[in-house]
Symmetry: C2
């Protein structure tokens, strides 16, 4: 779009020359995320604080320029890709942990703080910030809130939503307002704070986030369990959750195991095994109790082929790192990936795993799955070579079949990645017209000009109300 010269001048006066990006080569860097989408904005600003962000947004929307908030660009659904151009607001400089309140178990942070930095800062006070997306070492808390990010620890500790107490934000008319309360409880007026969680930048830009923390577990135990078949591992998920609540209960099918085999203990990862990674945490005494309960249970299960416990914290971290490296390792199979974070009721994990493998065989492309089995949230990886038309078509077909099956199973097409660009055309399969109409009405109430991250979530945008 055509950006008026006066607007550039005004923005420069707010953020300073160095924090206004107008160079085309540089702007390309603000046009992508971890999906394959790419669309450069017309300009980008990097405000130093909430006041600058507020002023920049106000000027942009007054001029009818779309506003697209951007954290680390680590999203996988194109959520921060500015497909309609306009102004990207990078939160890269708003990366300060403003305060940790150890007595009230709270953190106040700017939206550009990296997830793991809050974890480290909380740990210094004996506290813990649980949400742990695989990108935790580079993704931002603002992006986590915008997508409603989850991670392996959700099975015990919940997702980002469960930790957001209050949000300060800039609305589509450029006004600044806070929602929620730092207190442990609060029901004064509508829960706008939780409505904003997962709204993917389409309703507001966050300028400050208040997050709850929990006491830090001081002990852990990490197990790797192998089975002869993916079905065997999947069948163990619901029964394990009957006897204990692990911090993580991660599944890898045989293909996933094969991909990261070099990083896993020999013997366990051999010969076509599927795996469960089981993590327990708490204080040392309660972890000992949980270990005993888990061992007693697993001893009697015929599915269990091998069981190994990480002997040291370093070994435990290696196992977790191997699990996290799966995403990158998947490209050994094919150069392009369709990665979907579908969710089903956890008792349906075995059925989903069977279906995924059947679909890969049927369409003759590599399809494998791993993920947060304890939550019923699996990452299904459909590996294709985009340059091969047959594979491209088979990939699209596999994806469609997957979503349809998951919805038929009472599941959802996205557990933690969000809708963004890549799932918006499938949203109407999950959410009926009446529900989409309510969402469109909310979008319109917040952003009548459709300037906040336009073109996301809704299948047609601006959405029909």
């Amino acid at each position: 779009m055509k950006i008026p010269r006066g607007l550039q001048r005004e923005l420069k006066a707010i953020v300073g020359r160095d924090n206004l990006v107008i160079d085309r080569d540089l702007l390309a860097l603000y046009g992508s995320d971890a999906s394959t989408r790419n669309s450069a904005p017309d300009l980008a600003v990097i405000p130093a604080n909430g006041d600058e962000a507020e002023q920049a947004v106000r000027i942009a929307v007054k001029n009818g320029v779309p506003v697209v908030p951007r954290g680390a660009g680590s999203g996988v659904c194109g959520g921060c890709v500015p497909i309609r151009g306009g102004m990207v607001v990078s939160l890269a400089r708003m990366n300060r942990i403003i305060a940790i309140d150890p007595e009230n178990h709270l953190a106040r942070v700017s939206p550009g703080v990296i997830n793991n930095e809050l974890k480290l800062a909380a740990a210094e006070h004996g506290l813990f910030y649980p949400p742990d997306p695989a990108s935790l070492k580079f993704c931002t808390l603002g992006g986590n809130v915008a997508t409603g990010a989850g991670g392996p620890s959700a099975v015990k500790y919940g997702v980002t939503r469960d930790y957001v107490r209050a949000l300060d934000c800039v609305l589509a008319d450029g006004s600044r307002v806070g929602f929620g309360t730092a207190c442990a409880k609060g029901v004064a007026g509508y829960d706008i704070c939780r409505l904003l969680v997962g709204s993917e930048g389409t309703l507001a830009l966050f300028t400050e986030i208040t997050l709850a923390l929990v006491p830090r577990p001081t002990a852990e135990a990490v197990f790797l369990l192998s089975t002869n078949s993916a079905r065997g591992a999947a069948d163990l998920v619901a029964p394990i959750l009957r006897v204990t609540t692990p911090r993580a209960l991660e599944f890898m099918d045989q293909t996933a195991v094969e991909l990261v085999k070099d990083r896993l203990p020999l013997g366990l990862a051999d010969q076509g095994a599927a795996l469960l990674l089981i993590e327990l945490d708490g204080d040392s005494e309660t972890v000992a109790i949980q270990k005993r309960i888990l061992n007693d249970f697993l001893r009697h299960r015929p599915e269990v082929k091998g069981l190994s416990e990480a002997a040291t914290p370093e070994e435990a971290e290696e196992l977790r790192a191997a699990r996290r490296s799966l995403s990158a390792a998947s490209f050994k199979l094919n150069p392009d990936k369709i990665n979907e974070d579908v969710v089903v009721p956890r008792t349906k994990i075995p059925e989903l795993v069977d279906f995924v493998h059947h679909t890969g065989r049927e369409l003759a492309i590599p399809v494998f799955t791993f993920g947060h089995a304890g939550d019923g949230n699996l990452h299904v990886n459909i590996m294709i070579d985009k340059k091969n038309p047959r594979q491209r078509e088979a990939g699209a077909e596999a994806r469609k079949k997957l979503f349809r099956r998951v919805i038929a199973m009472g599941g959802t097409i996205t557990g933690e990645h969000g809708v963004g660009l890549s799932k918006r055309k499938f949203l109407p399969e999950e959410i009926p017209p009446t529900g989409l109409g309510v969402m469109a009405g909310i979008k319109k109430a917040f952003d009548p000009g459709n300037l906040m991250n336009p073109g996301k979530i809704f299948p047609d945008s601006p959405p029909a109300v």
Copy 2:
């Protein structure tokens, strides 16, 4: 308001003659709740199921008749009082636990199910539904969701909001739609489900609720701790939460103790003591560990005057029942009560307790406090005789001072009761005009005719957008 005769006929055809209430004496019963407000509706329907509720709402709104959902009428803020007349929809017959899914830790219930009935049904499957408002033996889950109800166990287990997975509801245009997912995770589209939690019947009428359950704790330990001063007890709250996370951490000031003294162990409740009721739960081994940690900690605190542990489950229940009976016992002090459920960051509990007592002395009326200290959520009881003009005025003044102080402390005017009628004029003190404007915009998007429980939450209604 004038109800067209044709409307009555249509409603009778839907719910049957026996479930349409038009008799004036009977309608008076649908006009009150546990507040002192009373305003009879023009008619009431008692639908048998979601289909009947949907049809009844559709006909009412088509005729411009306000719709006011009603659970047990146990709210204390006038939330279900039909101040603009219209049609009450009683959920009394929609009281079925539709299904408990023990493998996925889920319950599907109709909105009229009583909180404690779900607790009992879940227990049969080794599961637990934690939210525990004091009215748990008669309040309904629909009302709990509508108000965002909490209770003592929130300090460990969270509030109603944390358990609502999905809601089926009827909207203001009479359409029926579901929001949320039964799965453990889900971020497809805006989180309308959580927006509806705490919306007090102003956005939609619930026809079915899907709730998460957790594994049932199999052991508990209940302690009563006495201190010489209210301040002494309040000072212990934050430090206790540093060493353990109890299931409940309830506070009673000296007046509260005096009121229920007959039901508490001798010695502890004597001589001007303030109390903390501390409950631990888990399996027997972890409870034993927590007990040891708690005892080790309390041994070194000078505030502790006495400490007694309930020897049997019956004794534990007696202590909890004594705590729950406080609300009724308060009328020994004066015939009328102003009961506010304010919240502050928990480290400010001592300051709040001091302020509450100071205010009572200053205004020469009985003011006492007890409640969920672990959450920073105190029930402040301002006892007056309404027939006494000085006391009435002092009560109003105490209330105003309380809210102002709480907001200045970074707190909120309602932690779990809701706004309803009785707090709506104070909402603008906590929520700025921009925030109220966003809420009004949402109300208008859902309910342009302002027919869903009109006159609630917003200080002026229909709210200006």
